[in-house]
């Protein structure tokens, strides 16, 4: 049986599933309920100076009938008194000594204020501190949140101040609203942080109401850009986690955040280099109960794969991330349709015909609806197998397993022109 217990930069939790700093961790009541449900840790909703919120606060992206593929918010940090939060943090920690309670902080950018705030958290018995350098809306207009995270120099400076006062591990939460995630990550490392977490939310407008013509969410006739999260942002988050964990000089633990809903998503983040994962949107949609699938799914998959601990597979896939120039140009695959599995929707045909390389033909045989791959035109792009609604019906078959690999960079290094291994056929405009 797989061991899910986690030691993240010295913060211990029974499993790697933490609630991200967000509305689900707004109060002791909620965090207590979350731990009862099986969550391993919780990052408390960000504490800081007093603020007030607007309403409404959320906008969402629906895709073909699926609600909340992406969620955005214009809510600020906690609007409850700091003293109340600190009291509840103490209570929760007393009730749940083995669970991770991490306190998210965001205050004005001055050393004294940070020192004071960190000291107050030290006294609660909390297991760690997370610095919110990521919030891209509202607080950033006041010089906090992503206004800090986007400038590596500020990022490093504030981290240094925090480390001067901190007695517990400190995690720096990074904003994805940057061209490259590495510089702010390295800045956190230079500032002495014990770990980083990413990604925070992405600048976004989720949509426009076509009746009122007001962008979402509407606040009395106006809107503001918000922070985007949920399943839609996961690919962006995976890339950022992967590129940071893969970076040669970066060596802090990473808490992965961004659209985690199921154990599969969690496994992917860990494979890309995370050693804990944080979840918010899925809980905002379905409640704390989703953790049971996260725990059982991940542990059964680990058993199946022979991984005993989270550390056994953390980062395995990030190691396979490489530069495009190092990919094998000689590798050749061609699509193959399994006629037994094909249901004849011909979605692959029209996708290839209009969206790719005109390498799929409609069946000529009477009555058959199984399309035919024209191998002479197939460039192995994979589009057909992605749009096919039947699992395992279209596979990409390797044509030259024994051919030695040679990448773009290797061609250039050898002073040769890269050739590539696929047909260049273009269908002609009919006369």
């Amino acid at each position: 049986m797989a061991d899910l217990s986690t030691n993240f930069a010295g913060i211990k939790s029974p499993n790697p599933f933490w609630l991200a700093s967000a509305p689900p961790t707004n109060s002791g009541y909620q965090v207590n309920r979350a731990f009862e449900a099986g969550w391993g840790g919780a990052v408390w909703k960000t504490l800081g100076g007093p603020i007030v919120n607007v309403n409404s606060r959320y906008g969402a992206l629906s895709y073909r009938g699926h609600r909340v593929m992406g969620l955005n918010n214009i809510e600020l940090i906690t609007d409850r008194p700091i003293e109340t939060n600190l009291k509840e943090i103490r209570q929760v920690k007393k009730l749940w000594p083995n669970h991770a309670v991490i306190v998210s902080l965001m205050v004005e950018s001055n050393q004294e204020t940070w020192h004071e705030m960190v000291k107050r958290v030290n006294d609660t018995g909390a297991d760690g501190i997370e610095l919110n350098f990521g919030c891209p809306h509202g607080m950033s207009e006041r010089g906090m949140g992503s206004a800090v995270g986007q400038v590596p120099q500020y990022c490093e400076q504030i981290t240094t101040w925090v480390m001067e006062a901190a007695e517990i591990p400190v995690i720096v939460k990074l904003t994805p609203n940057v061209a490259d995630i590495v510089p702010p990550g390295m800045a956190a490392q230079r500032g002495g942080a014990n770990a980083v977490s990413l990604i925070n939310t992405i600048n976004s407008v989720t949509g426009v109401n076509l009746d009122t013509l007001i962008p979402n969410p509407a606040v009395n006739g106006k809107s503001a850009h918000g922070g985007y999260c949920g399943p839609a942002v996961r690919p962006i988050a995976l890339n950022m986690v992967g590129s940071l964990s893969h970076h040669k000089e970066f060596d802090l633990p990473i808490s992965g955040i961004g659209g985690v809903e199921t154990w599969r998503d969690a496994a992917e983040f860990i494979l890309m280099g995370a050693s804990s994962v944080q979840v918010c949107t899925a809980v905002m949609k379905h409640g704390f109960r989703i953790v049971t699938d996260l725990v059982t799914g991940l542990s059964k998959w680990m058993d199946e794969k022979g991984f005993k601990t989270i550390g056994d597979f953390s980062g395995l896939s990030a190691a396979k991330l490489s530069d495009w120039g190092d990919l094998d140009l000689n590798h050749r695959v061609v699509a193959s349709i399994d006629p037994e599995k094909c249901i004849g929707c011909q979605v692959c045909y029209i996708a290839c015909e209009d969206g790719a390389h005109q390498a799929i033909l409609l069946p000529r045989e009477n009555g058959s609806r199984v399309p035919v791959i024209n191998e002479k035109c197939c460039v192995g792009c994979n589009l057909c197998s992605l749009v096919c609604p039947v699992d395992g019906c279209i596979s990409m078959v390797v044509q030259n397993p024994n051919e030695p690999a040679k990448s773009h960079n290797e061609y250039l290094a050898a002073g040769e022109e890269p050739v590539g291994n696929y047909p260049r056929h273009s269908a002609q405009i009919p006369h």
Partner: protein
Amino acid sequence: MELSPEQINENFKDIKPPLTDDHAVVEANRCLYCYDAPCAVACPTHIDIPEFIRRIGSGNVVGSAETILDSNILGASCARVCPTEVLCEGSCVFLDLDAPAIDIGRLQRYATDHVMTHGIHVFDTPKEKTLGKVALIGGGPASLACAAELGRLGIQAVVYEEKEEAGGLNRYGIAPYKLTNEETRQEIKYIQDMTGFEIKTGVRVGRDISFAQLEQEYDFIFLGVGVSSSRMLRIDGEDKEGVVGATEWIEELRKKPLHATKVGPKVIVVGAGNTAIDAATEAARLGAQEVTIVYRRGKDEMPAYEFEYELALKDKVRFQWFTQPVEVLGNGRVEGLKCHRMAPGEHDESGRPVPVPVPDSDFVIEADTVIKATGQVKHDFLSGIDGVELQWGLVKVDDNYRTSNPKYYAGGDCVNGGKEVVNAVYHAKRAALAMHRVLSEGGK
């Protein structure tokens, strides 16, 4: 035990209730949007089904109805009465995954109901009908669809209906749990308002107005007269009280409030086609205690669709296969039906075994009502129209649905002997387009 009117109304409630907005979007989004989709190929009117479903998914419900009605102007009634299980839904690729087919019928109803309820006209039609004039005989689906298409093409169309209301089988023949009178009226009013054609009810051509007069006043005449009364059994005692034809019985049912049709506790329906099933399930839903379908062949030869058969089983209808009625018994009123047992014999040219009587096998089924559902006879007045050739009582037409008399076109049941509304709509559209072509070229 007699059922209360409320219970009867409950028994006749919609068997395919409408989709809610949210359900429609969920169902629409399940569609794979197949290329050259098998469902659209299976539809006799070739509605671009993936397209109209995609439009529902995007919230373009009016555009969806436009796609449907452009191909099938009676898309609202077809959504309810089509045997979708054997047409569009029966060819859905999801069935190959052992997953449920897309609920195409109900999605089509969703879109068409939307525009009918809100009175949204999905296409512009010429106000002035200046291209020509067409009379349409019979006010059923074929003529209504043809008149609407003619209206869209700028041709003046006048439908002559003998009964008090237009609609034909939609109004007088379909089981009310599939299509109600109100829905039929709403649809006719909608397509009439949108396309602009006239309906004259209570007028029987040949009695109230002559064919000669129509021929003089109109450029073309479209025959959409359907088929006539229920076929006789030609057995002794058929004239007894309580012996009725299925189409006539269903027509009476549709003319009155449901509970006004009294049905005895023991009902026999002769025949196993879709009309027989309708009559049997309707009798059961009205409160008949024992409903028996007798059919001289076996289940495998039953002409009814499988899903109709299952509907009858749900209504506790009993099936007596290989049973041939030979005499209606009773003293003035039906008391029973004497039948022969039959056995499958040699195969005939249709490939079906010919039922042959089993000697000394007579038996009696008690009954107070016998409903004859072994098909309908053809209209005999058709043979009186000059130059309109018939074949086995049906009107002979070419690919343009033009008869051998160039003044006459025809479509629907009087051409195919009795198929679905959707087939009639297709004939009607083809005929309308053909008439339009001739008129546009200045021909007659």
